[in-house]
């Protein structure tokens, strides 16, 4: 199972003087079970791109194959595609509308025309998957905190049992703890349910920690695509297009520039810590104490 995008173009104001490429010749293939981070500054085309993947926007030219089938082919069921490729938008406020959390999560499966038992079963599953305590299920979604609302929004899409889950900045505006909770839940979905996840984010640190592949968009074009370590090698180019690699990448490269023989591929705090400790031989005179604490 996969999503394959071929020569995708999206042009606004086609044929007029205002002609503008929102997407230009984008190509990639995402395999089943990948965790992809999609990054780019505002207006880089990343939001436009994800809306193509579930058919909300139609490309000006190019093709998208979902599980080998062209979604622009005649008679292709777009609504069925939307339940297979779930898309969670940035602001939960844009989708919550029911009187209580539970009914809101039921909206998606209801639209799929399932039986009442099946709908409720799925809603319960989805709410449990996002870790929302049962005491909230009967509450109005509008009275929840920002992080809880976001969970309900994600559950609302999960209840449709998608094979791919796309999230547009699911952590925007959350505090650090709320952010970590959401990202950890996504990791659990990825790990336990083998769900394919595409995470749109501004935060290189988050992506470095969670994604196993990064796609970088700039001016409607895909400029980098690969494992985080590999993409962050280009931290200077990333900076030129208004993005930055994680702080750790800079530290590692600066150390290397000063002749420190450290692995250039390290991207998380833990990795950097272990590498530096190894290089320093764990600071001999405090070795005992250091060991205790490190464990």
């Amino acid at each position: 199972m996969s999503i394959r995008v071929e020569h995708l173009n999206h042009i606004y104001g086609d044929g007029t003087v205002y002609e503008q490429y929102a997407l230009r010749d984008v190509n990639f293939e995402i395999q089943d079970g990948e965790f992809v981070g999609l990054i780019g500054h505002t207006g880089s085309g990343k939001s436009t791109l994800i809306q193509h993947l579930n058919g909300l926007l139609k490309a000006s030219s190019g093709a998208i194959y979902y599980n080998g089938e062209n979604i622009y082919g005649e008679g292709y069921d777009m609504r069925a595609l939307r339940s297979k490729v779930g898309l969670v938008f940035q602001y939960p406020e844009h989708q919550l509308f029911e009187v209580d959390v539970f009914s809101d999560v039921c909206f998606g499966p209801k639209n799929q025309g399932l039986s009442k038992e099946e709908i409720e079963e799925r809603a319960k599953d989805a709410l449990r998957q996002v870790g929302l305590d049962e005491k909230f299920w009967e509450q109005s979604p509008f009275e929840l905190s920002g992080g809880q609302k976001r969970r309900v929004a994600i559950a609302g899409v999960l209840a449709m049992k998608p094979e791919v889950l796309i999230l547009d900045e699911p952590t925007a505006g959350l505090d650090p703890k709320g952010r970590d909770e959401i990202l950890d839940e996504l990791t659990a979905l990825h790990r336990d349910k083998h769900m394919t996840i595409i995470l749109v984010s501004h935060s290189m640190e988050d992506i470095a920690r969670y994604a196993d592949r990064i796609m970088v968009m700039n001016h409607g074009e895909k400029v980098f695509d690969g494992p985080p370590r590999q993409v962050f090698h280009h931290y200077r180019e990333l900076e030129r297009i208004g993005l930055a690699a994680p702080q750790i990448t800079y530290i590692i490269h600066e150390l290397r520039d000063h002749g420190v023989p450290i692995d250039p591929d390290l991207i998380t705090v833990e990795e950097a810590r272990d590498a530096i400790l190894a290089l320093l031989g764990k600071a001999e005179e405090k070795e005992e104490k250091g060991k205790d604490k490190a464990e």
């Binding site: 609504r79 939307r82 602001y91 844009h94 989708q95 639209n111 799929q112 609302g156 899409v157 449709m160």
Partner: protein, 264 residues
């Protein structure tokens, strides 16, 4: 459809009409509308046409842009024209069932269509050359006398100005909500009228909640910036009549007199 409405869309170029006092433009639009209802001869309409074309030329707004405003009223235009054409009594040209096409009908329908088109074009010139704020300012000042009879003119014009600012934001938001619900399998297009109305609930609830939230936020932000109604307020851009405004008023009078004289 919503995007076709040019009313309330400012077209930023520099022209004499752009620089005119909004009150002059408001008054001019009023004069023009009155003249359209007074005019009943071809010559009078010719004068109105010249007046309109001149105004368009001086405003430097491309004619194509002004005409776009008509799209929004096409439907209304068609209805009123066909009503007039077939339901005006008089000498029939031909008749199908109870529908009777008459010379008089054709004539009234023609005038009717012209009137409506000119009306839209005329007011488009005003809205295209006047920023919403100038417009509300102009209204506030021109209608200031209503204050004495208890109409809260300042508040109404402030509300208009805020509405104009938030319309584009809410349109964009509607689009986003629609997409978010479509991603959950919502269907806004198929089904009968009742089903369609029902399918609007997931769109309208978030939209209203968001609008209320914005309203509360905005009220707080206005208070934080010391807004306390129109009393004791000064103006950054106070309205002042210039020479061009006086000339414009003169032109209006000449025009109106001409139209009246050329009536049948």
């Amino acid at each position: 459809m919503i995007r076709d409405i040019t009313l309330g869309q400012y077209y930023p170029v520099d022209s004499v009409i752009h620089r005119m006092d909004p009150r002059t433009k408001l008054f001019g639009t009023m004069v023009f509308i009155i003249s359209l209802f007074l005019a009943n001869s071809i010559v009078a309409y010719a004068v109105a046409t010249v007046f309109l074309i001149l105004a368009v030329r001086i405003s430097k707004v491309p004619f194509k842009f002004i005409v776009r405003g008509l799209k929004a009223v096409v439907f209304l235009l068609l209805i009123s024209v066909s009503f007039n054409m077939f339901l005006t009594p008089g000498e029939p040209i031909f008749q199908i069932g109870f529908l009777k096409l008459t010379w008089e009908g054709l004539r009234t329908a023609g005038f009717m269509a012209l009137r409506l088109i000119y009306l839209v074009l005329g007011s488009s010139i005003m809205t295209l050359t006047t920023t919403p704020n100038e417009l509300t300012d102009g209204l506030e000042r021109s209608l200031g006398f209503l204050n004495k009879v208890g109409v809260p003119v300042h508040e109404i014009s402030m509300m208009m100005s805020i509405a104009l600012r938030f319309i584009p934001i809410l349109i964009e938001e509607t689009d986003k909500i629609m997409k978010a619900q479509m991603a959950r399998g919502a269907d806004f297009e198929t089904g009968n009228l009742i089903q369609k109305a029902k399918s609007m609930v997931p769109l309208l609830v978030p939209l209203f909640i968001s609008a209320f939230r914005r309203a509360t936020d905005l009220a707080m932000a206005m208070e934080a910036r010391c807004y306390h109604g129109g009393e004791g307020r000064t103006k950054m851009k106070p309205l002042k009549y210039e020479k061009r405004d006086r000339i414009a008023y003169l032109v209006y009078i000449v025009y109106l007199v001409l139209v009246i004289l050329l009536r049948k």
